[in-house]
Subunit: 131 residues, 2 copies
DNA sequence: CAGGATCCAGTTTGATACTG
DNA sequence: CAGTATCAAACTGGATCCTG
């Protein structure tokens, strides 16, 4: 859900849990933030490579929403070929404990595709890398 | 998003962050878990009262999904009038650190409707309690 | 390289009305 | 009380094609 929920750090009708989740909403914000937290500044295609299942349209969209929410900054360099850097804002960085908690729970309770826990489960049949 | 993403604790194509978020997906799972963590067992209408903006249809649906995911247990008491108790499973309780992180970030960075931070912001215009 | 613009199917959600 | 059923609106995300 990325509807009229919280857009900036203003008023959100509901509880803090839902408020926070509304910022992470959409299919890819979590991973995007995760990668920016881990690796710092990344270019558009660098992000794409790290999230193989995302389409450009969606990556663009989610990045725009993160930007609007004040969590991610977008820097366009006037060079050719074009170069656009994405980075976390100071506010975005405050989400680190949240992303960490999400990652920890996930790695402890779910068998994930791109995680270092991959040793536990043999890649039996391939479970669809995209949706 | 509550599509084919993770349903049980089985394989999830993607990173742990996204895997965890997929369990919290949908508009109300976060709040539901939050209330069950804070108050323990709750009946259907007790939950409704704590989440004024949710419709019965949605509350039912999200509870069913949480049940299917193994995070919430549903106990039907054969009495009249009907009584159904919802509670966290042991697995559901392991989400506590996650929900805490979400709640903490939300209460620090967003002005929420039903939070104890309400003193900070005077209820100026009423911002729509539902969507 | 980094998108923008369309088209479109699949889902999610809300509103309402009804029931054991 | 605790739902179920139905209709319809809203939004999502994927696929394609195009551009400075």
């Amino acid at each position: 859900m990325s509807r009229p929920r919280a857009k900036l750090i203003d008023y959100f009708p509901g509880c803090p849990v839902e408020a926070t989740l509304s910022f992470l909403d959409g299919k890819w914000k979590g991973v995007i933030l995760h990668h920016l937290l881990e690796e710092g500044t990344l270019r558009f295609n660098e992000l794409r490579r790290r999230i193989p299942a995302v389409t450009q349209r969606m990556l663009t969209k989610q990045l725009r929403e993160l930007e609007e929410a004040g969590l991610v900054s977008r820097t366009v360099h006037a060079v050719v070929p074009p170069r656009v850097d994405y980075d976390l804002t100071p506010l975005g960085k405050t989400l680190e404990p949240v992303i960490s908690a999400l990652r920890l729970w996930g790695s402890e309770h779910v068998m994930c595709g791109d995680d270092q826990v991959s040793a536990v489960m043999p890649p039996q049949q391939k479970v669809r890398s995209a949706a």
